[in-house]
Each structure stands twice: as C-alpha cells, then as structure tokens.
C-alpha cells in the first residue's frame, strides 16, 4: 500500500483522480486553491484530466455540469463564498440531476483566516437537497471522493464534500488505492430532465424530493455516522470536530457519542442518542446548524442541548481543542511559565516592489484634493492597501462589488466614485457591472490593477490581462479617450497622478488600467 504526504486539499484532488475524474473546475480561493493546483500539477504530463482555471465559480460549476451531462466524472472546487457565485447553477443542478458523477468540493473558512465571512456550506447541501460528506482527516478526504462519485452516479445527484481550513491545509500520510478508469463518453439525451421549463422543472423537483428518503437511508446506514451509547451525557460531533473531541477524551470516559460525517442528518441515530441522554453537547466547526435542528424552536423536552447558542462554545469563530476541552468541562492544561508580553503585530503586507503600491500612492495623491475620498475596492492582494501605510481603499465586500458599489454611490450623487479592482477579479465579477455603468453613462472612475496574475492565491493564470483586458473594457462601449493605460512605477508617479486627476475631473465613466507584472509571479518565472 502506497502512502503519500498530502494536504487535505491534495487528498481531495488525488481521490478524485483515482476515482476516474475527467475534468476539474474551479476559481482560486483560499482554502480551496490547492485541490485544483494539485490535480493540475500531477495530471499535466498525462494530460488526461481537463484542468484549466475557470473565469469564476459559476462558470466552473456549469462546465462541470456539462461534463457530467456528457457522462464523465467532474470535480468542481471552490471556497465557501465562491459557492454563492455558483449558487444558481448549483441549486438547479440538483433539479436536473446529473449523469456522470459530479462532486462539489467546497472549503469553508471558520475563523475567517482569509475570507470575508465564515458561512457554512452544509446549509447549501441541505438547501439543494443533496448528500454531503464531511471528512475529519486527510485519509477520509481521499476515501470519501470514491464514495461521493459513486453515490452521485447511483442517485444521479451532485454530491458535496465539505472541507474547512484546518483539514484543507493540514498534511498527513494517506494510503492510496488502485485508480479507477475514467468513464466513456455517454451523453444524457433525456431532454426534459435537462430543460427546466416550469412544466419539466416541477417533475424534476418532485423526483428530487422523492429521492430524499433514500438519501436519509444512506446516511442512517453510513459507517461515517457512528453512534456509541454509554452514559447519560452525550456529544453530537460533526466532521473534524471529532478530532478535537478525541484529543480531550480520557480512556474509559462515559460519554455517549454520535459522530456525523455524512448528511442529510441521520435523524434515527440522533433520536437514539437524544432518548438516551440528559444533556447533549453539539460540536460543529461552522454555524450551529445541527445544534439548532436538534433543539428546534422551543427546545428538546428532557434534554439540555448545549453549544454555540447557549455559550458553551463561542457563537463565532473556529473550533479548536481548547474550546472543546472547556465545553466538556475539563480544566485547561498546565502550560510552561512564560512572561506575558505585549506583542507587536505583524500583519500581511504588499510585497516590496509590488506594482499596487505605486498605483495606490498615485491614487492617494490624485485624491488628496477631495475631502475624505472613498475608494471601493475588491478582493485580491490590493485589499491590503486598506491597511497602513497606504490606507488607500475603503471597502471590500464581494468579487466584483467594487464597480457595482461605486456605480450605486454615483447614482446617489456621490463623487468621485472610484473603484479599484484586479485583472482577474475583473474577469470574475467586474465585467458585467462595468458594462452596466458604461451603458448608463455613470460618473465613476475604475482603476483596474493589471498585474497579469491571480496574486493572492499564488499566481494562478488570469483570464483577462493585457490586450484581452483592453478589448473587454473597450467592448463595454467606453469612450476611447477615457480609457487610459499607465505603468505604475515610482518613476512614473507624477505622470500617473496627472492621468488620474484628468479622469477624476471627467463627468462620466472612465477606466484606467495600471499595468505592471506581479513581482511574485516574476520570481516564480525565474525559478
């Protein structure tokens, strides 16, 4: 048996390859990026898996669904907030159902290490009425891919595998299996299933609801949902929270435990546990989804349900072994005697020589004639310009939101309405709001920071950079004299400030592209 050292993300990727996946789809986003990167890297030579980053998560999902339609297995991977972008295709793919196995690997970020929220993707699985696996370690991440693809093909439904940052970015040795061959092309010509006109959609939705008892039966019988009845104190533990529980259990403990790693929630097993205990602690890394389901609106008669809603676990943030220890009522471990010191923070910062620094220095100066100017920003390395010393941007909400929000502020009469967005984020979510703004002749100024790559997640390929980017921008119908290109360097500072001032003075839509290659990407090319 071969054992490989893999990140949880990589275990997902290898599990998918060994399950006979023919295509992987996604958009970079921490903590999911390494799933795709691993597959891209390891299948490059053989060339037997389609692996090109998509423009955004919605496109990725639709491409994966197309491959499933054609009868082959596809993996689509993204971070939790990426699923919001893909939600339209995702929700409806549960209605159409699938043909070749379709697995969605989504990595949540409890604690918001690299994200703007900590939304829990298990709600999406429940919402779409599809099965969900929640591996607690790297080996399970690998093994569950086989099960997820098989289950997807048996039930003709997409299947979610939910990761969280901690297992996505943690390495361990994984025992691997003999790879399964890829599917042959066998397109699904059942037209009505795939054509969600209301008359067809109603039929398909009924099919989906009729599959639910089978999904539940699978979860009840799943070896991943383990019930151990002992004393009158119970713990219901989901996914990798099981590790934090085991970490703190003394040998010979008397807790009754239900560990859950396959959904829908196996209500039969939950009932057995609930009927056996007087109090029940629910441990889940994410929202109190299961906790609230078990407690219901009015509480559970005869059983005290404890968790995030009752204060035993903090309402927000990532779980860890210390939090679980305290929730179990155990004293903290003794630590070495170390002096308490006030510690200088070391926040992340733009790299030395980063082109964004020069762009924002120029923008700050160009805006210094305005009182308290507002720059709507987007999601990428350049969001770090919100921090000192630059403090050049003043919002970060969603992919592409910079342009839409600047347009809305301009509609309200706010000037200058400035948006800052990177080249890849522009491809992802910036094109449509710019088209809107230009067609409405909104008075806004868009700064596109074209560094030719997806910098923050590790210099993946950008879809709209250089000439492609210019053509897209011009294609929105913007006046050519208000489409400017500058090179952000310290030497060009004064000239760049001048260009920005000119466009700020113009009453209408303008776009300035600040174009200079990411220095991190340059380093990668050199090595």
């Amino acid at each position: 048996m071969k054992r490989e050292i893999l990140l949880g993300d990589e275990a997902i990727g290898l599990g998918a390859i060994h399950s006979g996946m023919s295509g992987i789809y996604g958009y970079p986003g921490t903590p999911a990026t390494e799933i795709f990167e691993y597959v891209e890297r390891t299948t490059k030579k053989a060339g037997n898996v389609h692996a090109f980053w998509s423009t955004n998560e919605k496109v990725a999902y639709e491409e994966a669904l197309g491959m499933s339609w054609a009868g082959k297995r596809a993996l689509v991977c993204m971070k939790h907030v990426g699923l919001n972008v893909a939600a339209d295709a995702f929700m409806n793919s549960a209605i159409t159902g699938t043909n070749g196995g379709l697995v969605l690997a989504v990595a949540d970020d409890p604690g918001m290490h690299s994200s703007q929220n900590e939304q829990d993707s298990r709600y999406f699985a429940q919402f779409a009425l599809i099965p969900c696996f929640e591996p607690r370690n790297q080996q399970e991440a690998y093994d569950m891919m086989f099960e997820a693809f098989d289950l997807s093909e048996e039930l003709a439904l997409p299947v979610m595998v939910r990761m969280v940052t901690r297992n996505a970015h943690s390495r361990a040795a994984v025992a691997t299996r003999t790879p399964r061959a890829q599917n042959e092309l066998h397109p699904d010509k059942e037209i009505k299933k795939w054509t969600l006109l209301p008359s067809n959609a109603r039929v398909q939705y009924k099919h989906l609801t009729e599959k639910q008892p089978e999904l539940l039966r699978r979860a009840e019988d799943s070896p991943h949902n383990e019930l151990h009845l002992a004393g009158r104190s119970g713990v219901l533990v989901c996914g990798l929270a099981d590790n934090y529980l085991r970490e703190n259990l003394a040998p010979g403990h008397d807790l009754s435990i239900l560990s859950i790693r396959q959904y829908p929630l196996p209500s039969g097993k939950v009932r057995e546990l609930v009927e056996h205990v007087d109090d029940l602690l629910v441990l889940e890394d994410g929202y109190p989804l299961i906790e609230n389901m078990v407690r219901g609106l009015f509480g559970l008669e005869g059983v005290r349900v404890k968790g995030r809603m009752t204060g035993e676990i903090p309402r927000t943030g990532e779980l860890n072994p210390d939090i679980v220890r305290s929730a179990l009522g155990l004293p903290p471990l003794v630590t070495a005697h170390v002096p308490e010191t006030e510690l200088a923070n070391r926040p992340p910062a733009l790299c030395k020589g980063c082109p964004h620094t020069d762009s924002f220095r120029a923008l700050n100066e160009a805006l210094n004639t305005f009182e308290s100017p507002q720059v709507f920003s987007d999601i990428g390395c350049y969001t770090l310009a919100a921090l000192p010393p630059l403090e050049a941007v003043h919002s970060c909400v969603a992919m592409g939101a910079s342009i839409g929000m600047a347009a809305g502020a301009a509609h309200a009469g706010y000037t200058p309405a400035v948006a800052a967005i990177g080249d890849s984020t522009f491809a992802h979510g910036g094109i449509t709001p710019l088209l809107s703004a230009v067609q409405q002749h909104v008075n806004l100024n868009v700064l596109v920071l074209d560094n030719g790559t997806v910098g923050m997640t590790g210099t993946q390929r950008s879809m709209s950079t250089g000439q492609t980017l210019d053509q897209i921008i011009l294609g929105t119908g913007i006046e050519e004299e208000h489409f400017r290109i500058i090179e952000p360097t310290p030497r060009n500072h004064d000239a760049n400030v001048e260009v920005m001032r000119e466009e700020l003075a113009f009453d209408g839509p303008s776009v300035i592209v600040a174009r200079r290659e990411c220095i991190e990407a340059l380093k990668h090319q050199a090595s």
Binding site: R166, P321, D322, A349, M456
Partner: protein, 255 residues
Amino acid sequence: MEKNIILAGVGGQGILSIAFVIDNAALDAGFHFKQAEVHGMAQRGGAVMSHLRYGDSEIYSDIIPTGRADLILSIEPLEVLRYWHYLQPDGWVVTSITPYVNIPDYPETDDLLGELAAFDNIVMIDTAHIAKAAGNLRAQNMAVIGAASDLLDFSDEQFLRFIEVLFARKSEKIVAVNQRAFAFGRAAGRFFRELVDHGMPRLAAIKLAAKLAPETINTEHAAAWAEALGADQNKLEAVLAETEAVACDQAAAFA
C-alpha cells in the same frame, strides 16, 4: 511517544521547508503525523506558523492544544513570543536570534534577546551568521532544524536525506549549502547548550557563539570558553571586538 512542535517565522522564511523535512522523516520513521499550516493572505510578510505533531499512536487534532507543545522551533526571535503559551511546563524553545524587521514597532533586539534568554529551556543560534558561512542566507531555516535535531527523534541520515530530496530539483550546490547549514546549526545549538551547562549566562553564550566561525564550532571547546571568560563581561567584549570571526579552538587567547 508524541511530539508536538510549533514552527514559527515570517512569511517567506521557509517554515514549510522545515515542515517538509520533519514530515518526511516522520513518515520514514513509521510515525503517525499531522502538520497544519497557513496559506493565503498571511503569507505576504505576515506572522506564519505551523503545527507539527508526530507520535507512535494516532494523532487526532491538526492543531496542538494549548499546553501540549514540546517544542517551539522559530526562524525569528520575536515570533517565539507569539506562541510560547502553547508550551507544556518542560517544553523547549529553539530559535534564531536574527530579527526580521518589517514593522515599525519591532522591539529593541537586546531587550528581545534578554527576554528570551530568561527562559530556562532555550537554545539560541545566530542563523544569519551560520547560513552565510554555509553559503546562502536563505538556508537559515535548515540551521534551525539542525539546532533542534537533538530534541527530535530522527537520525542524521534521515535529516540529510530529506534535505537532499527537498532541494534536489534546484542544484547539487544548494543541497550542499543546506546540509552544511543543518550541520553548522546543530553544532551551534550543542555548543550553546554546553556553554550554558558550564555556567555561562545565556545572553553571553549566544553573543560568543555568534562571534565564532561556524565551521569551527565544536562542543569540546565549550568548557574552555566558559572557563576563559567566566562571568567577566570585559573578556567577552574583547572577543566581540575582534574584526573577524574567531576560531572555536582559540578560547585560551582570551582567558
């Protein structure tokens, strides 16, 4: 047996290379292991850490519980302070004394080293000095593994082999530089501990060790240095005043 290690440093210093070597050695030795790391935003010059755990039975949590760390292994002195509450009562710290200053409120180096030197179970090495002597300033991370190697559970052969695996795709020269940094780091760590065991204050011990030529450092001279300098600050200053690095066998010259 279970060993829990916090790897600490600043984004770009090579924490994950340390993790690579220990992960592979752990797998090779037949241990269970888990190693959680930080990706994404924090890597841009921010504080970076990794939890590395190995042992002979199953490792559950990817994160080390507070009070369970056996060792903090840091490529940067300030970063030690960020994590040392993780240490169990008998835990050890192995750290570089080379500051990575990319923030305006970085503390005075002497204050920082003084604070660290007050901790009983600490091994301090000057990684910049060692890595330069080994042939590349970027090899500081391997010097830290070297200094920690006596506190880990692997053979020299295992360390050197996985350093080779790690750097093989770059060049033979880079492999040799990193293996040398490992060996110098280990010698410097042992020498520091030996000086302290012979009664030299830790701050004096690290200052002395940082002045000696890394390729000459050998624990067998530690007793002679401890005896030669004693607690005499002036004698230490005389060594530090030398313009060139001092050979390790020259203790008698400063007695």
